[in-house]
């Protein structure tokens, strides 16, 4: 009997181990396919608005014309979480080509291997990434030297302002510094009882695109030190940023009143958007908002401008926060060469990038497209092209350790005003001019 037990125990352990290990390795794909053979690719993306879906479908049509052997089955409105879970679950319904609206997860995609390294594909097809893409965009699509994504249009954030409200309040131009922002916002604010008729600017972070990193970019912060460790606690800009935000909140009536007013706003992407309905006279948003305001036929005149900068850095006016959509190939794809053809077309074909950028008013993500004369000449859109190319514009560094683009591009820690280093002044992972 004891012998039986000793035989059973390893058997049970082995079975349990196999069962546990069985869940641990989802299927992996291969890059042995012939991209000239007929194939259907599954492409998951995040676009959901009608005009955006039409634009990406038009892009796919153009691709299929160029590659008649490749059919693309697109699925829109896919979140990063859904995609991440699908890539881990594997199976034949998982996507071949994937895209994400944010650069925040690129580190995870590259380090986990869920998105494959694109360098071998670029080498194979002779695409020189450094010649095609601006450095900032290449930086935020790679992790520790592994280029698992490529930029598929970019985003720049700036100020939208209601010109009618400005005229009514006797204000001639949009504010350029943080103190001007406070004065202008107060002047534009109209109270109604204990609430507001119109608010100059909503400084609370719980609103649409108002996340801290986007406004913080105006201070050009350094997120990581040379060793890749977080250094925000030691960053003087962090204190300045929170102080400016607190002062703005106080000047506009306090957090409670603002938060209560915020609950009267409609959905960001609806006709009840607070800027569109006139509840906000100024609003921070991405370059795509202009097209939406035009489509919604806003009943006031509006303009765009860069976001404000700290008073002691007035010479950096024109800078802004940069991010972008990224595209890559799923590790589980069995058609990775064909998938690369689609990724290459969407990200590196100049005419395609310009056409797509014009269609959805996003910032083009290749050097050639940025210089293209075919780009939309709308001045409200051009403001964002200027922000994207401003030398002090800042992208969020990848949440990596040594992957921080700050630490890589750092040269000498020469000090500048209030002890801030030259690198933070110039932005350690900045604009598309590089």
């Amino acid at each position: 009997m004891p012998r039986t037990r000793t035989h059973r125990a390893p058997a049970v352990l082995a079975t349990t181990g196999l069962l546990l290990a069985g869940c641990a390795n989802p299927s992996t794909g291969s890059a042995n396919d012939d991209p000239t053979k007929p194939v259907t690719l599954k492409f998951w993306h995040g676009w959901a608005e009608k005009n955006e879906v039409k634009a990406i479908n038009d892009s796919i049509d153009r691709f299929e014309e160029l590659h008649p052997n490749i059919k693309v089955k697109a699925t829109g409105n896919v979140t990063d979480v859904t995609m991440n879970q699908a890539l881990r679950a594997g199976g034949d319904k998982a996507p071949d080509v994937v895209s994400s609206f944010t650069t925040n997860n690129v580190g995870q995609y590259c380090s986990s291997g869920t998105w494959v390294d694109l360098d071998p594909f670029m080498k194979k097809t002779g695409l020189d990434k450094k010649k095609v893409f601006p450095k900032t965009l290449l930086d935020y699509t790679q992790f520790e030297g592994e280029q698992c994504a490529l930029p598929l249009l970019a985003h720049a954030f700036g100020l939208y302002y209601n010109k009618d409200a400005f005229r009514k309040a006797g204000i001639e131009r949009p504010p350029r510094t943080m103190s001007e922002l406070k004065r202008t916002a107060v002047k534009l604010t109209q109270r109604k009882g204990d609430s507001y008729q119109q608010l100059g600017f909503m400084p609370n972070f719980r609103l649409y695109q108002n996340s801290p990193d986007r406004l913080f970019a105006q201070w050009g912060p350094r997120y990581f030190d040379e060793d890749g460790k977080a250094r925000l606690a030691d960053e003087p800009a962090a204190k300045d940023f929170f102080t400016a935000q607190r002062d703005l909140i106080k000047a506009l009536g306090g957090y409670g009143a603002l938060e209560k007013f915020r609950t009267t706003f409609g959905d960001e992407m609806s006709s009840q958007n607070a800027f569109l309905t006139g509840k906000l006279a100024m609003h921070m948003d991405g370059e795509w908002r202009g097209l939406m305001l035009n489509d919604a036929k806003a009943d006031f005149e509006w303009g765009t401008a860069p976001m404000q900068v700290p008073d002691d850095e007035a010479d950096t006016y024109g800078r802004g926060y940069l991010t972008g959509t990224v595209a890559g190939i799923a590790h589980s794809s069995k058609h990775q060469n064909a998938a690369w053809e689609l990724v290459r077309f969407l990200t590196a074909d100049t005419d395609q990038v310009v056409a797509f950028a014009n269609a959805i008013h996003n910032v083009p993500s290749t050097k050639a497209a940025l210089a293209s004369p075919k780009l939309d000449a709308d001045p409200t859109f051009r403001t964002f092209l200027g922000i994207a190319q401003h030398p002090d514009s800042v992208a969020l560094p990848l949440p990596s350790t040594v992957g921080s683009t700050c630490s890589r591009s750092r040269t000498s820690p020469t000090t500048r005003s209030r002890g801030r280093s030259a690198i933070s002044r110039r932005g350690c992972e900045n604009s598309m001019t590089r």
């Binding site: 881990r88 986990s112 719980r206 609950t263």
Partner: protein, 329 residues
């Protein structure tokens, strides 16, 4: 077993046949019992035993659900207990909800049950009216509540304001977010109302009549007749309520997300904590860690913490000394 075998060997040959037959019969009986038990055994093994073992196993592994798991010892446990800033608020919120929500739901369920059993007319109407909210899907019910209690545009605050009462910001106020969730759960009290009504109607009428003859008042009748009779049902409600509330997820997530006003679309990740961590529960952290950040090890640690607490509370309540079990139970 060896002793039995020896005993069987010493029995004369005729007796040996009988013993063998008896042994075969016992074996058949055991197999039959196993056959009848097998659906439960399979279910228990597949849906409880294996997941529990896997959870313990992965709590000691680094596993991002794509690369092979690697052993990391107690690192996940240390991370959760020593370095994870949201663990404390999430655990506090979960325990707060278990204590307050479960207690109030039981009290409210008994109250509504008593009220309806005492009604002479309109019983059907009130029974339906109190039960219907329970049938509303949790997401829809939460969306409706957040809309009704919206501080800026909600009808509740407008009505309260009209009569001169300064209403709170409900789901937008860290001090009121959890009480608002409790209100939502009390609105959907239908499930408990039904079982308490059944328990109350099951109390023998003769006992009340005898008590009345002895001059017992309403409170004495409830204290000495109703309460002991419905105690097993109260225990059932408390135990299942505790286990359910330990897993509280949907309503807290939806309420926090809607009240925060942050658009959730491609490229954004829900941060389940608005306002000021007050609606963050442990199950939300488990999902966030396990299926948004793919930190499976830490998610497993949190799941085991939840399991241990639920197990401890249930064991405590199931003890006869807790007073919730009667002699018959």
């Amino acid at each position: 077993m060896a002793r039995t075998r020896k005993a069987v060997e010493t029995v004369p040959s005729g007796g040996s046949d009988n013993a063998a037959a008896l042994r075969r019969k016992h074996q058949r009986d055991r197999l039959r019992t196993l056959d009848f038990l097998s659906p439960w055994l399979i279910g228990f093994t597949v849906f409880f035993g294996y997941p529990l073992i896997a959870t313990v196993y992965f709590s000691f592994m680094h596993y991002n659900q794509i690369e092979p798991a690697t052993f990391v010892g107690w690192r996940n446990w240390k991370y959760v207990f020593e370095q994870m800033p949201l663990f404390g608020p999430a655990l506090w919120n979960t325990l707060w909800l278990v204590v307050v929500m479960v207690a109030l739901r039981v009290v409210f369920g008994i109250g509504i049950g008593l009220l309806i059993t005492k009604l002479k007319t309109g019983v059907g109407f009130f029974r339906t009216a109190f039960y219907l909210p329970y049938l509303a899907p949790p997401v829809a019910a939460t969306v409706a509540f957040v809309f009704l209690l919206n501080p800026g545009t909600g009808p509740v605050n407008e009505v309260l304001g009209a009569v001169g009462i300064e209403a709170p910001n409900w789901f937008n106020d860290p001090n009121w977010a959890k009480p608002s969730l409790v209100m939502l759960s009390l609105w959907g009290i239908g499930d408990l109302m039904v079982i308490f009504m059944a328990a109350l109607l099951d109390v023998p009428k003769e006992q009340y009549e005898a008590a009345e003859l002895d001059g017992a008042g309403s409170f004495a009748k409830f204290r000495y007749i109703t309460w002991p009779s419905i105690l097993p049902i109260v225990m059932f409600a408390v135990v299942t309520g505790t286990v359910q509330t330990m897993q509280y997820y949907t309503q807290a997530l939806v309420a926090g997300k809607l009240a925060s006003g942050v658009s959730v679309g491609p490229g954004t990740t829900i941060q389940p904590e608005y306002p000021d961590h007050s609606t963050l529960t442990v199950p939300q952290l488990v999902y966030s860690l396990g299926f948004q950040n793919f930190n499976t090890g830490a998610a497993c640690v949190l799941s085991l913490v939840l399991f241990a607490i639920a197990m401890a509370v249930t064991t405590l309540l199931m003890r006869k000394r807790a007073g919730l079990l009667t002699a018959e139970d």
